[in-house]
Symmetry: C2
DNA sequence: AAGGCCATGTAAGTAGTTACATGATTGA
DNA sequence: TCAATCATGTAACTACTTACATGGCCTT
């Protein structure tokens, strides 16, 4: 149920339309809970059906956005969920499956795939570091500290993978 | 399609029944591609339908296991897949969503949840380190180096999270 | 008037989860 | 004989992905 609560969080920060939410997800919450516009529209419909959010008055008509805001019940629902808990989700990683398969049938050309992932991870790290430089340069009140911690999780993860891929490439080259 | 290829890999290592596979997944491939017995039975049926695996001759009858082995076509399929590529999957993390929500509505009692995750991560790390001590103490031929690299990914990930959670708890306590 | 973008959706399919069903074999 | 465990599955549901549909508005 995290998507639902991610959306409530985003709508509390700022009432938004579906497409606007999708755009905001792409550059913040989506880093650790990605969602396509299709998923978002569906969940918005459910949230509205459950009276946790409501459309702001807007001249209706085809082609005009539906802007949603969180109702009191929605804020309460989010508060309840925040104080709950979830186990970490199992991590599924096709690259590691591929390596395991290569260990069994004889390594195919894994170097190329590892190198490709290295580049992707580096690009993602750059993106995170740019956000950090832009948004967390100075002050740190309580909410900012939380948000910065989240970003540092993303940064640390990418750094870990970059390091691991580099080491692995070295080890495989040392044949 | 990684489950399918994870199963082919496991069956190449040793022909197995569905339940046996499920057990083996729990202590090796499942660390980075978990699967329940229901998923495994379904995928075995598909693999058999596609003639990539076949049942070893076994006295049939209710209650006796169906042991599968990989056919030539299955080995070929796996080899083809290994030389392909997949982007890293997006990482979905409810704990980070919770933190983000807490940043907006005022932090609930996140310490308890962080501490709980810390314990889970530490337990998982112990499990990995025990496997490393047992299986990778000495020699390192090519397949072993690959498998060790995979295990080190698991170890490094848990170490990263343990470090991140510890730091985050410190920062939140420093209020 | 044509192309691109804003905006909201439907449809179909795949993957994964949760709950339950059924029978065989084995050991207390 | 009863309970546990081995073993294979079905069913229903939720989440996510991919592909497509539809129309309005704005710019060239």
């Amino acid at each position: 149920m995290s998507l639902r609560h991610a959306i409530l969080t985003a709508l509390l920060e700022r009432p938004s339309s579906g497409l606007e939410l999708a755009g905001r997800f792409d550059r913040s919450i989506g880093y650790f809970w990605p969602a396509s516009h299709q998923q978002i529209y569906r969940e918005l419909a459910r949230l509205e059906g459950d009276d946790l959010i409501a459309q702001l008055p807007q001249r209706p008509g085809r082609g005009s956005p539906k802007v949603y805001a969180v109702e009191d019940a929605g804020r309460q629902e989010l508060a309840d969920w925040v104080s709950g808990s979830d186990d970490p989700r199992p991590h599924r990683d096709a690259l590691l499956v591929r390596m395991r398969a290569a260990a069994v049938i004889g390594s195919g050309p894994l170097d190329a795939e590892l190198t490709r992932h290295l580049a992707l991870r580096r690009r993602q790290l750059e993106e995170y570091l740019a956000i950090e430089a832009r948004d967390f340069a100075v002050v740190e009140d309580e909410p900012a500290r939380l948000q910065h911690a989240i970003l540092k999780a993303g940064i640390g993860l990418e750094e870990f993978w970059i390091d691991w891929i580099s080491r692995t490439l070295d080890e495989l080259a040392a044949d």
